[in-house]
């Protein structure tokens, strides 16, 4: 990935329009010390275009550091229901 040796794997689940662009579930390989921003760039997603980032069940920012085996949820802007 970008010529960098991959040393950890992260499980990614995408929603909404992101799922159509990236896939519903993806396993990404990243080098140690990578952040969510690195993950998003590696997937071709705009780090500023994600509304909710969830790392192992907790809401985080794009600067959150990743570890091998982490589970990530990526959610684009979501709108509500019906009158």
């Amino acid at each position: 990935m970008h010529g960098v040796k991959a040393v950890m794997k992260v499980n990614v689940r995408c929603f909404g329009s992101l799922a159509e662009k990236i896939g519903s579930t993806v396993t990404a390989s990243l080098e140690e010390g990578a952040t969510l921003r690195d993950l998003l760039l590696s997937l071709g997603a705009d780090p500023e275009g994600i509304s909710v980032l969830v790392l192992n069940g907790r809401q985080v920012t794009v600067e959150a550091a990743l570890q091998d085996g982490d589970n990530v949820m990526l959610v684009p802007p979501v709108i509500g229901g019906y009158l």
């Binding site: 929603f15 979501v78 709108i79 009158l83």
Partner: protein
């Protein structure tokens, strides 16, 4: 003459079978804007705590706003306001299609229907021509058939028609009002109010234009905003998939109702009933209202099999309440259940709550198959459809739900009332307040009972809707924290009160990304009032407070500003596992304080004076107050 308004409303009395037009001055519009705001004014002035929601004195107010004056995006909306037979107090509901634009073209800003006809009637409004006509032969038809029957009888296919189905005729308190067989004013049982007046349908058409302050500017900005909204909804999938696009995401966040709010996760089911599978299986296409770039409604078709159907398809709310809520994962079966509700004229949210309650009661041993005559096991779609038919037709075991889930629970089993997920008698929509904590305070305080669309706070929390003009930014998109939640509810309730009085479809701003600044530009092009953001928010606060005064007059208050017990139970698994929402009482004082209300939830004299509502202070200070029905949780 007020730009954007005709300055007149039409009053129809069905007891005396008379109609007259009544002038309205600019001060009224500057105070209440229109739509839901104008309806609140009518209820404040023309009802008391003793007004029976299903009696002839309950005014049924169909109200428009200045936004219907031009071809602006999302202007097909109309509001209907009355005392709800489900909550006993203020309620508004809204729908689209073409009807609101038709009433405005006929030359009216609102239609107020009072009285009751001894025999079924429909109203025809064609400019100055207003007629109350015999509905014999139409009464008894379903809501879709009624539209065509009225058009046929009038030999006029250009009419736009709102109707009720058999549920409204039968005074089922979860009955809705349907526009052109296309869009539904679903909530709070206002279809039963229409039925109580013997009113089957209202047909409109007209040729009158409304003068606006700057038509060139409005035309230019409307065109530009239409394109911007269309671009946004194409990019975010809203145009292609409609609200079913939410299902998978909502389930992942624990937002979707599962097993009548007792389940935590259901990912496989959500994937089956939500988009993109929904779009593929149901052959779904956008079904836009007039002047709408979003097209959130779906037109679906199931060509064959036991659930063959076609027409308006289920929305997210219906997929939630008739799908995941009942553990029914077949989109075709949900589509037919939706069609049954649509034709009978049942609110699919409350109908789903009724069926969910029945299924939970059977599971707990509170309700036997012998008593219901149905196998109400979770996921049994055929039984659900059968029960829905009986609820709408008020027959057999289904008749027990004629007054809604809360009333039915008291008839089913002594322990069943605690199972009912409602606020002030209105069943929760398909959004879980344990996932988005802002929903808790929003549900508890919403003036029509549990409603997400009179605040849309969850969309801020889930990161899809921000209003930087009033400080609601991405920083407020935080789960499982009480921070900002009361303030968020106040701000968004007030903004939504303005939107529902304007009257604009909320999906233009939430989903369509129409900014408050752009909306304000169009508003000022219509009215010429030069309003600022502060003016908008103050109008919204005034309207919310007016609605609250009706609530208080009718006996609601802090004791009914609650959330149901189920919304306090932490999940065992999924995204919100172990998260226990902050007790609602902890938010209430903050919320009341932000509003300028006292600790009992009543606006202070100073608050009412600041909002220009002092003349209504007597409603809460002098009127006898009866206590509203008991509330769980």
């Amino acid at each position: 003459m007020t730009f954007g308004y005709h300055d007149r409303v039409l009053r129809v009395d069905l007891t005396s079978r008379s109609a007259r037009s009544e002038g309205v001055d600019e001060r009224t519009w500057r105070t209440f804007v229109g739509g839901a705001g104008y309806g609140a004014k009518v209820l404040l002035e023309e009802t008391t705590a003793q007004t029976d929601p299903l009696g002839p004195d309950n005014p049924l107010v169909f109200a428009l706003g200045p936004y219907q004056a031009g071809a602006a995006p999302g202007n097909a909306k109309w509001s209907v306001v009355a005392k709800s037979p489900l909550t006993g107090t203020y309620a508004d509901s809204a729908a689209g299609a073409r009807w609101g634009v038709g009433l405005k073209k006929a030359g009216y800003d609102a239609l107020i229907v009072k009285g009751a006809s001894k025999t079924p009637v429909y109203i025809l409004i064609d400019d100055e021509r207003v007629e109350i006509k015999d509905a014999a032969g139409i009464w008894g038809l379903d809501s879709y058939e009624t539209v065509q029957a009225v058009k046929d009888r009038e030999s006029d296919g250009s009419l736009s028609v709102v109707s009720i189905g058999p549920a409204g005729e039968n005074l089922v308190r979860i009955a809705c009002i349907i526009a052109d067989g296309h869009s539904f004013a679903g909530r709070a049982g206002l279809g039963a109010v229409m039925g109580s007046k013997g009113l089957k349908a209202i047909a409109v058409k007209g040729s009158r234009s409304v003068e606006v302050y700057d038509s060139a500017a409005l035309k230019e900005s409307s065109k530009k905003r239409f394109s911007e909204i269309l671009k946004a909804v194409r990019e975010n999938g809203f145009r292609e998939h409609g609200t079913p696009n939410l299902c998978i995401t909502a389930e992942a966040f624990g937002d979707m109702p599962i097993k009548y709010w007792t389940g935590d996760v259901w990912p496989e089911g959500a994937a089956r009933i939500g988009a993109p599978n929904y779009t593929k299986v149901l052959n779904a296409k956008p079904l836009p209202c007039a002047n709408c770039p979003v097209g959130c409604h779906r037109n679906i078709e199931v060509k064959e099999g036991p659930y063959a159907t076609s027409g308006p398809g289920p929305e997210y709310e219906t997929l939630g309440m008739l799908g995941s809520n009942l553990l029914i994962d077949d989109p075709e079966a949900i589509a037919l259940a939706n069609d049954v509700c649509n034709r009978l004229g049942l609110d699919t949210i409350s109908a789903g709550a009724c069926v969910g309650l029945a299924m939970e009661c059977q599971e707990l041993g509170y309700l036997s198959e012998e008593k219901s005559g149905l196998d109400l096991s979770w996921g049994n779609a055929d039984s659900a459809i059968s029960l829905l038919k009986d609820i709408g037709n008020k027959r057999g075991f289904g008749a027990i739900f004629a007054d809604g889930a809360l009333a039915a629970s008291r008839l089913i089993h002594p322990e069943a009332e605690r199972l009912v997920a409602h606020v002030k008698g209105l069943d929760l929509p398909a959004h879980d307040a344990r996932a988005c904590w802002s929903l808790g305070i929003n549900y508890a305080t919403c003036t029509r009972g549990a409603c997400h669309m009179r605040g849309v706070t969850e969309d801020v929390e889930m990161g899809g809707f921000f209003i930087p003009e009033i400080g609601v930014t991405k920083d407020w998109s935080v789960f499982f924290s009480p921070e900002h939640k009361a303030e968020l509810a106040v701000k968004l309730q007030d903004y939504c009160a303005f939107l529902n009085s304007l009257v604009i479809c909320a999906f233009m701003v939430d989903g369509g990304e129409l900014s408050m600044t752009s909306l304000l530009d169009m508003f000022n092009s219509i009215t010429g009032w030069g309003w600022t953001v502060d003016d908008v928010m103050k109008a919204g606060a005034r309207i919310t407070n007016a609605q609250r005064l009706v609530n208080l007059m009718d006996g609601h208050g802090r004791h009914t500003d609650t959330i149901p017990y189920k919304m306090t139970v932490p999940a065992k698994e999924g995204f919100r596992a172990g998260q226990a929402p902050v007790p609602i009482d902890m938010y209430l004082d903050e919320y009341y304080g932000l509003r300028g209300w006292d600790r009992s939830g009543r606006p202070t004299a100073e608050c009412l004076r600041d909002l220009g509502l002092s003349e209504y202070a007597r409603v809460v200070s002098g009127a006898p107050v009866r206590r509203a029905g008991a509330c769980t949780g």
